[in-house]
């Protein structure tokens, strides 16, 4: 289970009990006024930013990459915002609430991708790419086939990630604000399209920054208020939590989250290298002016995540005591029964327990804001794959006016918005537990290996790159389809054909292997030229010469 899976699966099992019915002191209240006020403030502010950003979005570079005018610190916050989704806030804290230390392992897996990105990728991405990571993959290769393959795998990752977010969003918003599921999904879709279409990367980045600041400060506040109940002593918190939890002291050490060690290792691989292959994360490295700012953004992002993950660990354990033993948070007042609002609620109940309705409202609004910001980043990454890679790079062979390319991107983001809403509504009742595993698996197997080889291995040719992407994509999809989560749970077969839960451990080596094999077997004149072009590419990757013009905002 990955965070998104937790949210999708957990939320799918929820009833529709409006959250605020839980407020023990005001049982008749059906809507949380502070939450609605704060949510409206957030939407108003982000729409104002979008208006401001729209006036500053003149060129394709402004639209895709904020003109390269985002600072390292700003970009770091935005990257942290992309990773810290509603699934991270609600899913991981509820996992810690339910399983203890195993939930914290997710945090560790989520953060490790970033040092790797910094040491091996960030500078090279910035120095070689303009708008999408396919720029880097296809730098010295034939753009037609390579961009097509990279754009297709980007789009698949983006769409699946979007579905998971949309379904989670619909269920969460329905729960928090008491509105219909489809209304919530449409609302998220409409706001997402507005941010992306009018404000491009500038608006998308600022929405993400604001949300990251709100989320990290809100999470820290809840965690510290909760920690104060234990005199800021971790040992006292741990002792009380293990007393209150049905599993006792077992929650303070890793348990049996995975069916077998192979799945555990495969999961960790998928999380680390999947993060390093997510198109909307990679795209953020093109919004900063140079390699130094690119590096700095990883430092800031990792720091934000580190703080947040420590806080979420405290929140999860504190919730075991403050939520888990308070009858007011359980259906029918039965401690140990079903939590009001369902399995994803410990973080929000905890906010209520330590800060009353106002803090609960604030955190609920932050959760909603988080969804909006994450889907906007995804939509922009998907739209760029369509307009920059497929339309401008492949169909028009790079010969297209900037205005036309941006127009196609806006149409693509609208189409993605409609698609996300339709699929979000279609999959409301489905068990989407497999989606996040699949998304990260594909990112790790189809995007990451060929991108790394393109940057580091002279021998990579167009044939090798396409083979690597296709094999990574197909094998990741096949392994997930044949695994228990789809083959048994969704398709109703008796036994899984692929015995493990996660594809990365198997799909990644297959991708590397086929990229290597098809490259070394490629003796075409084109391949010879591509190998020759590596030396110049490498100098550019190391030095960033010649630089690109940078816009100031």
């Amino acid at each position: 289970m990955t965070p998104g899976r937790i949210l999708a699966a957990g939320a799918a099992a929820l009833g529709a009990a409006p959250l605020l019915a839980l407020a023990a002191d005001a049982p008749s209240q059906s809507m949380n006024i502070p939450a609605i006020v704060m949510f409206i403030l957030f939407v108003g502010l982000t729409l104002a930013i979008t208006y401001w950003a729209a006036k500053r979005t003149k060129t394709a570079s402004d639209y895709y990459a904020a003109g390269g005018g985002i600072t390292g610190t700003q970009n770091g916050l935005a990257i942290a915002g992309d990773i810290l989704s509603a699934a991270t806030l609600l899913g991981i804290s509820s996992l810690i609430y339910g399983k203890g230390y195993d939930g914290f392992l997710y945090c560790l897996c989520l953060i490790v991708g970033f040092p790797v990105i910094l040491f091996l990728m960030a500078e090279r991405l910035r120095n070689l790419g303009r708008y999408t990571f396919a720029d880097v993959t296809s730098f010295r290769l034939d753009p037609g086939p390579v961009r097509t393959a990279a754009a297709v795998s980007s789009l698949i990752v983006v769409i699946m990630y979007l579905i998971a977010q949309m379904v989670g969003a619909g269920q969460l918003i329905k729960l928090l604000f008491g509105i219909e599921y489809w209304v919530a999904v449409v609302l998220v879709g409409v706001l997402m399209v507005i941010y992306v279409t009018f404000g491009g990367m500038i608006a998308t980045t600022w929405v993400q920054i604001i949300k990251a600041v709100l989320l990290i400060s809100g999470g820290t506040l809840v965690a510290l208020l909760a920690f104060a109940h234990f005199g800021f002593s971790f040992e006292s918190l741990a002792a009380k939590a293990s007393e209150a939890h049905k599993d006792g002291v077992k929650i303070l050490a890793p348990g049996n989250l995975f069916a077998d060690p192979v799945s555990a290792v495969s999961f960790a691989l998928g999380m680390v290298f999947g993060t390093a292959g997510l198109p909307h994360i990679l795209m953020r490295f093109f919004t900063v002016p140079d390699a130094h700012e690119a590096r700095k953004s990883v430092f800031v992002a990792t720091g934000c995540m580190a703080v947040f993950f420590v806080m979420i660990g405290i929140m999860g354990l504190a919730a075991v005591v403050l939520v888990g033993s308070n009858p007011a948070y359980f259906e029918g007042g039965k401690v140990g029964g079903k939590l009001l609002g369902g399995g994803n609620m410990p973080a929000l109940h905890l906010a209520h327990a330590v800060g009353g309705n106002v803090l609960l409202g604030f955190m609920a609004a932050v959760a909603f804001a988080t969804i909006l910001a994450v889907v906007a980043g995804l939509a922009l990454a998907g739209a760029s794959a369509v307009s920059h890679d497929l339309y401008a790079g492949v169909i028009k062979r790079g010969k297209v006016a900037e205005g036309q390319e941006v127009k196609v991107s806006k149409i693509a983001s609208l189409a993605l918005g409609v698609l996300a809403v339709v699929l979000g509504i279609m999959f409301e009742k489905h068990n989407l537990a497999f989606l996040t595993g699949l998304t990260l698996g594909i990112a790790a197997a189809a995007n990451f290996p060929v991108l790394m080889l393109a940057m580091y291995w002279k021998g990579l040719t167009t044939r090798g790159a396409v083979a690597g992407i296709v094999v990574g994509l197909v094998s990741a999809v096949l392994f997930v389809v044949l695994s228990k989560a789809v083959w048994v749970t969704v398709l109703g077969n008796a036994n899984a054909l692929f015995p493990y839960e996660q594809p990365a451990l198997f799909a990644m080596p297959l991708a590397f292997l086929s990229a290597w094999l098809f490259s070394v077997l490629d003796t075409s004149p084109r391949a010879a030229k591509e190998r020759e072009a590596f030396e110049d590419q490498d100098v550019r990757a190391e030095t960033g010469f010649p630089g690109q013009a940078v816009a100031a905002h």
């Binding site: 040092p115 910094l118 040992e235 741990a238 303070l252 960790a268 680390v272 430092f299 660990g313």
Partner: protein, 103 residues
């Protein structure tokens, strides 16, 4: 045009030095991070009991908790270390090289 400049950069005696130093730093840091992390994951996967050892006699807090937090903090500090080293050691050499070849 840029191809000629790239050729000159490659021939600059400082260039291979910078590249080698940066690679050594980046690759060893990546090894440290991935080694520690996957080492930890292997222990979690094959021998989770080991991590259930209490930090001290009578404590409920297990060594898994400080180890996990320490790794998160260490990884963050290592990113800071790399950012600092890269700016101090590599960016200045890079600027010198670019200045020499584009004059």
């Amino acid at each position: 045009m840029s191809s000629a400049v790239y050729e000159q950069i490659r021939r600059n005696r400082k260039y291979p030095l910078m590249v080698a130093r940066r690679r050594r730093l980046a690759h060893s840091l990546a090894m440290v991070v991935l080694g520690l992390f996957f080492g930890f994951i292997l222990v979690v996967a094959f021998n989770p009991k080991l991590l259930a050892t209490p930090v001290s006699d009578g404590a409920v807090t297990t060594i898994a908790i400080p180890l996990g937090v320490a790794m998160i903090v260490l990884f963050w500090l290592l990113t800071g270390f790399y950012v600092m080293r890269a700016q101090r050691d590599f960016d200045s050499i890079k600027r010198e090289i670019l200045k020499e070849v584009t004059q």
